[in-house]
Assembly symmetry: C2
Homo-oligomer: 292 residues x 2
């Protein structure tokens, strides 16, 4: 009984959503609001989507304004915080810091020398030391995660399943380097590995290599595979797909896309499934690969 | 005595060089000719450099004309064959085959399903079964290999050495997948991994990401690392650099480039060193990494 009450109290506190770029922050806000929980958005200046955040109570914050964000979130009665959306690494010297942030600066500067994972987990710990509970988007709105199984009508055949396995193995091998959430594999041949460019740019590259005659497989061979990094802190930066991913896969001339079910966020799942069917590609949520 | 005579006889036979695209085939031909050995070029239609091959006796061959190539090379008295230059994977249906090649087709088709290594080693075995000895370019002209040490005047500092070590580790992890001869690492962060696009395109991507503000490190941070693939058949497809690699590294805003000494081909080493100095980057041949 106590636990149940505690849970109700938790979910009646508003949820603070710190919004980076892209459409995911609002997809999460909508999902949480549909569950009846109040949300307060903290779009980050230069990244948050100004046209979209107006639908909810919101406060713009600069990247260096951690103190301001803490004050506002506490004043709104938020204790749970979700941090979602693209956040391209800014130069430290471009950020205008408030005092609270300045005190933390040496620590953040040290975090900057590692990969994304180290930076993001470090920032997560700092939030927690200031009285917030950092949650993953999937914890507050599990319905935004890709479920296991087909999203549209098409299914991968045997060669595609082999390419998916190769793609997962490549991504697992990249794990220790905090890089590579996605790869493109065709006929056992690794055509592209994602690093700083992001999935959309990688798919565009495959399309361009095909146009230039550097990839000569017929249309409909090859797969995009996305998986969370090994050891990734899943409260941040889960892999995500949306309608633009389907468009990219179609332009790249691939047979379909495979993502890890339960740890990939999908924006607009209905549109994703319809676009996959229309483009004659498969889109599938596959089980979490077994790690050694 | 017998061995010495045998060696002399070997080196007095002309060397057949099958020329793919790029400037390396002629760099190898020049180096072999400087050693006093006659060369006969077999530029591949659609890939060989028509302007350059005229400097040596040559016969154009189509990709599917293995029979023709064998006849001509035997008629020229060639037994040793070197195969060098880019060869973008053509579609099987674009190749016009002669009878000799058609007989080998089922085997080549099977090789097509693997990565580059499998394709190239398989083709190598076929040459040997037809009375040729397939050599690596480095065996006939060792001076085209990058030696250990600095190519220009600049040297990598401590952070660059750490980035080089990270780059080598990334490439070693990619080894099993027959992909990834190059990577870009900055401040411990893997910015790009090469797959089908090639090194020049990967460097251009890093330059573009920087222009778009997606990479915000100051100019002069980060390295290009190139290494042969684990288990790569070094008679084909050794990593190579040339003046355009230096230009790419400078445009990408990196501190320099590191390649594995003794197993990287350098076209125009003097120009590479001068361009590195002029662009204020380092260019270094590093020892072969120890493989576990």
């Amino acid at each position: 009984m106590l636990d149940v009450n505690q849970d109700r109290a938790d979910t009646q506190e508003p949820l603070a959503i710190i919004c980076g770029g892209g459409s995911l922050p609002l997809a999460v806000a909508d999902a949480v609001a549909r569950r009846g929980r109040r949300v307060v958005l903290f779009p980050i200046r230069g990244f948050g989507d100004a046209a979209a955040v107006g639908r909810y109570p919101h406060h713009w914050v600069g990247l260096g304004q951690f103190g301001r964000m803490c004050r506002l979130a506490h004043a709104e009665g938020c204790r749970d915080v979700v941090f979602i959306g693209h956040l391209i690494r800014p130069s430290l010297h471009e950020i205008r810091f408030d005092w609270q942030t300045l005190r933390l600066l040496p620590r953040v500067a040290r975090l900057y020398r590692g990969g994304d994972d180290r930076l993001l987990s470090g920032i997560g710990r700092i939030f927690e030391e200031h009285g917030f509970r950092l949650l993953g988007a999937h914890e507050v709105a599990p319905e935004i995660l890709v479920p296991e199984g087909l999203m549209g009508r098409r299914a991968p055949g045997e060669p595609e399943q082999a390419d998916i396995a190769t793609g997962l193995a490549v991504l697992a091998a990249m794990g220790p380097f905090d890089v590579g959430q996605a790869a493109v594999v065709a006929n056992g041949h690794v055509l592209a590995i994602e690093a700083a460019e992001g999935t959309d740019a990688m798919l565009l590259r495959v399309a361009d290599l095909r146009k230039a005659g550097r990839i000569r497989y017929p249309i409909g061979i090859g797969v995009l595979v996305k998986a969370p990094k090994v050891g990734q802190d899943r409260r941040f930066d889960l892999p995500s797909i949306g309608p633009q991913t389907v468009t990219g896969v179609i332009r790249a001339g691939l047979a379909g896309l495979a993502v890890v079910a339960g740890s990939t966020i999908v924006a607009q799942p209905g549109i994703v499934a319809a676009a996959a069917d229309r483009g004659k590609i498969f889109a599938i949520g596959i089980p979490e690969p077994q790690r050694q």
